[in-house]
C-alpha cells in the first residue's frame, strides 16, 4: 500500500467556532494506482491531502504514506512525495526556472540535474521558452503548469495533485492527463483531487467520493455508476408553468426517484428509463403539456454523487466543459 489512512480527523478553530473539515477518513491507495478524490468545494479534499503530505497534523487518526508513518517520520514521507497545492507555489517576482531549481535542490536534487529535468518538463508541459520568465508574467494556465513542474521535479514515487487542472483550457487538461498517465507508467502512484466529473471518470482507476468530510462512496467509475439505480430522464417543457403538473405525473410512475424541477425542466431517475418513456409521453400529452425535448442518460458520476448526498456536484460548478451531452 502506498497510502493507508485510518480515522483521519481534522478540525479547525475559527472565530465562528469549530469547523469539522475532515470527520474520519479511511483510505487505501495501492502502488501504481491513480486515485481520485471527488467532491464539491469545502468537502475536505484539500485538508485530507495536506494531512497526508505532512503539512498539517491530523486532530486524530493515523496514516502510513509511502511506507513512512505520518506522525513518526514526516521527513521520510517528505522525501518520497511530490505535492502540487491547489493555489500556487511560486513567488510572482521570482524567475520560473529559479523557483524550480531551488525547490528541487531542497528536495535533494543536484543543481545540474534540476536544470536538465526542469527544462525537459517545461517542454513536456508546453512551457517553451518560459524558463527565464518572471512568474507573474505567466498566464494562469502557465503558472498552474509551473506548479506541476515544481511538484514533480524530484521524480517522487507518490504524487499528490490538488485540483491539478483547475484553470487549464481543455487542450492543456488533456495534455496533463496524458502526462499523469505517463507518470504512472513510469511507476509513480498518483492521488489527485478534483471536482470535475469527467476528469475523475477519464483519468482515475479508482474514485473516492467525499462530502462533508466523509467518504461516501468508493470504487472504480463503472462500479460506482452501477450502484446508482436507474437512468436519468430529463423532460424539457415548452412552458415552465406546466412543470408542477408534469412533475405530478412523474411522481406516479413506479420506481421514479430524485424528482427535481428546475424552471422548465423536470428531471428524475428510474430503472429502464427507455421503456417507460412511451407511456409517460402519452400521459403527458393527455394532460396537454407540451414538450420541447426528452433526454435519457446512463448514470454518470454526478448521479452517484446525487444518490449519495442528495445534491448535485454540478450545481455549484457551471464551468464543467465536457460530460455535457447534447439533448437529443
Amino acid at each position: 500500500m502506498m497510502i493507508e489512512a485510518r480515522g483521519l480527523v481534522r478540525t479547525f478553530k475559527t472565530k465562528r467556532g469549530q469547523v469539522q473539515a475532515v470527520q474520519g477518513v479511511d483510505l487505501n491507495v495501492a502502488d501504481g494506482e491513480i486515485v481520485g478524490f471527488l467532491g464539491p468545494n469545502g468537502a475536505g479534499k484539500t485538508t485530507t491531502m495536506r494531512m497526508l503530505a505532512t503539512l498539517i497534523k491530523p486532530t486524530s487518526g493515523s496514516a502510513t504514506v509511502a511506507g513512512c508513518d505520518l506522525a513518526e517520520d514526516p521527513v521520510g514521507v517528505r522525501r518520497r512525495i511530490g505535492y502540487v497545492p491547489q493555489s500556487g507555489s511560486t513567488l510572482p517576482e521570482a524567475i520560473a526556472g529559479d523557483e524550480v531549481v531551488d525547490h528541487a535542490r531542497l528536495c535533494g536534487v543536484s543543481k545540474k540535474q534540476a536544470i536538465a529535468d526542469g527544462q525537459r518538463m517545461f517542454d513536456e508541459l508546453d512551457l517553451p521558452g518560459l524558463w527565464r520568465r518572471q512568474c507573474k508574467t505567466l498566464s494562469g494556465g502557465q503558472r498552474r503548469r509551473l506548479d506541476i513542474v515544481m511538484g514533480l521535479i524530484h521524480d517522487p514515487k507518490l504524487i499528490f495533485l490538488d485540483e491539478p487542472t483547475t484553470g487549464l483550457d481543455p487542450q492543456a487538461r488533456a495534455n496533463l492527463w496524458e502526462h499523469i498517465r505517463g507518470l504512472r507508467e513510469r511507476g509513480a502512484t498518483i492521488f489527485l483531487t478534483t471536482h470535475y466529473l469527467d476528469e475523475a471518470d477519464a483519468l482515475c482507476d479508482r474514485i473516492l467520493v467525499i462530502d462533508h468530510g466523509k467518504i461516501v462512496a468508493s470504487g472504480n467509475p463503472e462500479e460506482l455508476k452501477q450502484q446508482v439505480s436507474g437512468d436519468g430522464v430529463r423532460l424539457s417543457l415548452t412552458d415552465a408553468s406546466q412543470a408542477p403538473a408534469a412533475s405530478k405525473i412523474v411522481a406516479e410512475l413506479d420506481g421514479a426517484v430524485a424528482i427535481e424541477t428546475d424552471g422548465d425542466v423536470v428531471a428524475f431517475r428510474i430503472p429502464k428509463g427507455g421503456s417507460i418513456l412511451p407511456g409517460l409521453l402519452r400521459s403527458i400529452d393527455a394532460q396537454g403539456i407540451e414538450l420541447n425535448g426528452v433526454e435519457v442518460r446512463r448514470p454518470t458520476l454526478d448521479d452517484v454523487f446525487l444518490t449519495m448526498t442528495g445534491r448535485s456536484l454540478r450545481d455549484e460548478d457551471h464551468a464543467v466543459p465536457a460530460d455535457e451531452e447534447a439533448a437529443a
Binding site: L55, R79, P85, L91, A94, D98, M150
Partner: protein, 254 residues
C-alpha cells in the same frame, strides 16, 4: 551539514529576490540617512552636554544609535515579506520538501543580516565626511552587534508573521513594539541626559544597553563595562530570538 547546505540554498534564493527588487532595502536605508542629514546637525551645538565632557564628537554618540536603529527596524518588518511568500504558497512548497525547518528560517534570516550589514557600512561611509571618527576595532565589533540584532529581530518578525499570517495583525503589533523600544533605548539621544525616572524606565530595555555598548565601542572603550554589557545583552537577545524563531518554524510547519 545538510542543514547548512539547505540554509545556503534558501539564502541564495532570498538574496536573489532582494537584489531583483532592491527598492525595499533602499527605502529602509533612507530612514537613517534622513536622520543623519536632517537631525544630526542639530546635535553639534549640544555635543558637550551629551558626551558629558569627554572629548568625543556628536557623531560618535549619534551614529551608534542610528546603526542599532537600522538593525532593529530593518529586520523588524521582514515578516511582511514572509506573509507575501505564504500567500503565494511558497512556504508550503518549502515545507513539503524534506529540508530542515531551521534552514528554511536561517536562510532568510541570513539574507536579512547581510542586507543590514551592507546598509550599515554604507551609513558609516557617508558619515565619515559628516565628521564621524571611530576606531576600526570598535566599528567592526559594532557591525557584529548589528548583525546579531538583525538576526534577532528578523527571526522574531518571521515568527509573528508565521503565527498571525496576516499583515493586518502584524502591522499594529510591530508599530506598537517599535515606538516605545525606540524611545526607551536612547537611540537618538543618550538616556543619561534625561531625568532619573526616565533613566530607570529605560533600564528595562535591553536595547538601551546595546546602544550604550556600541557607543563605548565607537569611543574605543572595547574592554569597558558598557561594551561588555552591550555584547552580553545582544548575545542573549540573539539566543532568545533564534530559539523562538526556530521553534515557531518547526511547530507552525507541523
Amino acid at each position: 551539514m545538510r542543514t547548512l547546505q539547505e540554509t545556503w540554498i534558501v539564502f541564495n534564493r532570498a538574496m536573489r529576490l532582494s537584489l531583483r527588487n532592491p527598492m525595499w532595502s533602499i527605502l529602509m536605508l533612507s530612514q537613517p540617512l534622513m536622520y543623519l542629514f536632517l537631525f544630526g546637525p542639530l546635535l553639534k551645538p549640544i555635543t558637550a552636554q551629551i558626551s558629558q565632557g569627554a572629548t568625543t564628537n556628536a557623531y560618535q554618540v549619534f551614529i551608534p544609535g542610528l546603526i542599532v536603529q537600522l538593525g532593529m527596524f530593518g529586520a523588524m518588518f521582514v515578516g511582511f515579506g514572509l506573509i507575501a511568500e505564504y500567500r503565494a504558497g511558497v512556504i508550503e512548497a518549502d515545507r513539503v520538501t524534506p529540508a530542515s525547518r531551521i534552514a528554511l528560517m536561517a536562510g532568510r534570516v541570513l539574507r536579512d543580516v547581510v542586507v543590514l550589514v551592507v546598509q550599515s557600512i554604507l551609513l558609516l561611509v557617508v558619515s565619515i565626511p559628516m565628521g564621524l571618527r571611530a576606531p576600526w576595532g570598535g566599528v567592526l565589533l559594532s557591525l557584529v552587534i548589528v548583525a546579531l540584532l538583525g538576526a534577532t529581530f528578523a527571526s522574531l518578525s518571521y515568527s509573528v508573521a508565521l503565527i498571525t499570517k496576516s499583515e493586518d495583525a502584524l502591522a499594529p503589533l510591530l508599530n506598537g513594539i517599535a515606538m516605545p523600544l525606540l524611545l526607551l533605548s536612547g537611540i537618538l539621544l543618550p538616556m543619561q541626559i534625561g531625568p532619573k525616572w526616565l533613566q530607570r524606565l529605560s533600564d528595562i530595555s535591553p536595547l538601551k544597553h546595546v546602544v550604550n555598548g556600541v557607543r563605548a565601542l565607537f569611543r574605543g572603550d572595547i574592554g569597558s563595562s558598557s561594551s561588555l554589557w552591550g555584547l552580553f545583552w545582544v548575545v542573549l537577545l540573539t539566543i532568545v530570538g533564534l530559539t523562538v524563531g526556530a521553534r515557531t518554524f518547526r511547530k507552525e510547519s507541523a
